[in-house]
């Protein structure tokens, strides 16, 4: 049974964990960010961060430097650092965008972060010591519509971006002021800032749907994305940018996450995390639903239930309005909890139903016979 925490009735638009998973930052579909602390067996609200004017669209917590970055529809991003009194203090980041920010992601070494926006560009921000502020550089070409999702390559330079122009692109976000020249990877060798290393279309013939989430695998060779046409795709740079797509039977996914080099989780409007596997030839296939829970007793209409529903709803059929899955509404975000992208043992999902669930592969393994988790 996955552990689930309810944060009220408001949808959770974004969530992020601190390094040892004792603190959680969530945004309940408002301009506020709530920090929860796990103390004495329960989650207590520790602080409310109120700096944004409009809805917070993205939160990311840098584990090693313990900084939180938040971005919002008010075209701003703030970097929050904890002072000695344990209070979080914001620092404004000049993104120089004229539209809402949609997503934010710390780089693996936490020296910079990237913000996607409706202004059709990505702001890569780094800290300039001389002036003691965060400065941004823009990646604009050839993005033609809102950037919806971002993820960093493990080399701290390459950045994948999914967009509402139906494309997924890999850019170089190399900032020469703060880092050394990167060594070449399977994506290419020359990486000046803003160079597009690869572009993938979310469909075979120009159609398809908006890209909702994009994720680099732990080696950085593979990239997975999910689109609104209910598809999930994997591209492999080490195999000549070969792409494998499945157009699934499910409702569209909103988030995806690699949990090993060959396995990934996708979750979204279907309210249930799904496991997908990539085989040796690079083809992706569906491996199973991870929500083996509890179908509410739909079998056997008990007399008690019948009278209850007659009393409350004036009807005799016991039409259960709750879903058979743990989440009762769409899952909006998926985060790694325990382990890393090469070998994850736990991951968390947060949804529109205000629920945050932590899924443990060790428990799920026993529930799903016939699937091998190594």
């Amino acid at each position: 049974m996955p552990e689930s925490l309810s944060f009220g009735i408001d949808p959770i638009t974004a969530h992020a964990w601190n390094k040892d998973r004792t603190k959680l930052a969530i945004s309940p579909n408002s301009p506020e960010v709530h920090i929860y602390h796990f103390q004495r067996g329960e989650w207590k609200l520790e602080e409310v961060l109120k700096e944004h004017d409009l809805k917070v669209t993205g939160i990311d917590w840098a584990p090693n430097t313990n900084r939180i970055v938040t971005c919002s529809a008010d075209r701003n991003a703030y970097v929050w650092t904890q002072s000695e009194e344990k209070k979080w203090k914001p620092t404004l980041v000049l993104l120089r965008i004229n539209r809402a920010a949609t997503c934010v992601c710390w780089s693996p070494l936490e020296n910079k972060f990237a913000v996607g926006s409706g202004a059709r560009l990505i702001s890569v921000c780094y800290f300039e010591k001389e002036n003691d502020w965060w400065v941004s550089k823009h990646i604009k070409k050839p993005i033609r519509s809102t950037v919806t999702c971002l993820d960093w390559h493990p080399n701290d330079v390459l950045l994948a971006a999914g967009s509402t122009d139906f494309k997924v692109r890999v850019f170089s976000a190399y900032i020469k002021e703060i880092e050394e020249r990167p060594v070449s990877t399977s994506w290419g060798s020359k990486m000046p800032l803003g160079l597009m290393m690869a572009e993938f279309s979310n469909s075979t013939n120009g159609a398809g749907g908006w890209v909702h989430s994009v994720n680099f695998s732990s080696s950085g060779d593979r990239i997975a994305w999910v689109g609104h046409d209910s598809s999930i795709s994997v591209a492999d740079a080490s195999k000549g940018m070969a792409v494998s797509v499945i157009r699934t039977d499910f409702l569209p996914f909103l988030a995806c996450l690699w949990v090993s080099e060959n396995r990934l989780i996708a979750a979204g409007h279907g309210c249930c995390p799904m496991l997908f596997e990539v085989n040796e030839t690079g083809k992706v296939h569906f491996a199973g639903k991870l929500d083996a829970s509890l179908k509410k007793e739909t079998s056997g209409v008990s007399a008690m239930k019948k009278f209850q529903s007659l009393d409350r709803q004036a009807r005799t059929e016991t039409n259960d309005t709750s879903l058979g899955t743990l989440h009762q509404n769409a899952i909006t975000s998926v985060c790694l909890h325990t382990g890393n992208k090469a070998n994850a043992t736990k991951f968390s999902t947060a949804g529109v139903d205000g629920l945050l669930a932590i899924w443990d592969f060790n428990n799920l393994e026993s529930a799903m016979r016939g699937l091998k988790f190594n």
Partner: protein
């Protein structure tokens, strides 16, 4: 504008075209489906010979999705409707099982287009088709009808 002439023609101007941020469709030019559409005579032959499943496969294979010509699309729609409505209810399931995923997506697009212009008894038949295609291809198929920019 409207005060002295009471004209509401200004409401029909597409102001987005003047916005420099406007997203323009990619003119890919890749036509993976034939721009002409299925051959009507060939299909009617199939139907008359009773080879309904063959007819269905042919119309779906030759569906003019990439075409910009609305008349071609309408003509194709008519042919597809003839095929769909000529099949007996008992044959629908067999026909659906004979199709692959891509063709099922195209078939679902035609089913929804068929709903738009109902004729006598057509909606009932289309609903039977819809049920069978949904049973095989799930909700993902219906989502793709809604998100796919290449309309049928």
């Amino acid at each position: 504008m409207a005060k002295n002439t009471s004209s509401s023609a200004f409401r029909k101007i597409d102001v987005d075209q003047y916005n420099e941020d406007n997203y323009k469709e990619d003119d890919c030019g890749e036509s993976q489906s034939p721009p002409v559409g299925p051959d009507e005579k060939e299909i009617i032959n199939f139907i008359n010979q009773g080879k309904n499943i063959e007819a269905l496969k042919t119309v779906l294979r030759n569906a003019p999705i990439s075409s910009r010509n609305q008349m071609v699309k309408d003509a194709a729609l008519n042919v597809v409707m003839q095929v769909l409505l000529s099949m007996k209810s008992s044959q629908i399931e067999e026909a659906v099982n004979a199709l692959d995923r891509d063709h099922l997506d195209i078939l679902m697009k035609y089913i929804y287009r068929g709903f738009e212009t109902p004729s006598e008894g057509s909606s009932g038949q289309l609903l039977a088709w819809h049920e069978k295609v949904h049973a095989v291809a799930g909700v993902g198929c219906i989502v793709r009808v809604l998100t796919d920019k290449k309309r049928v």
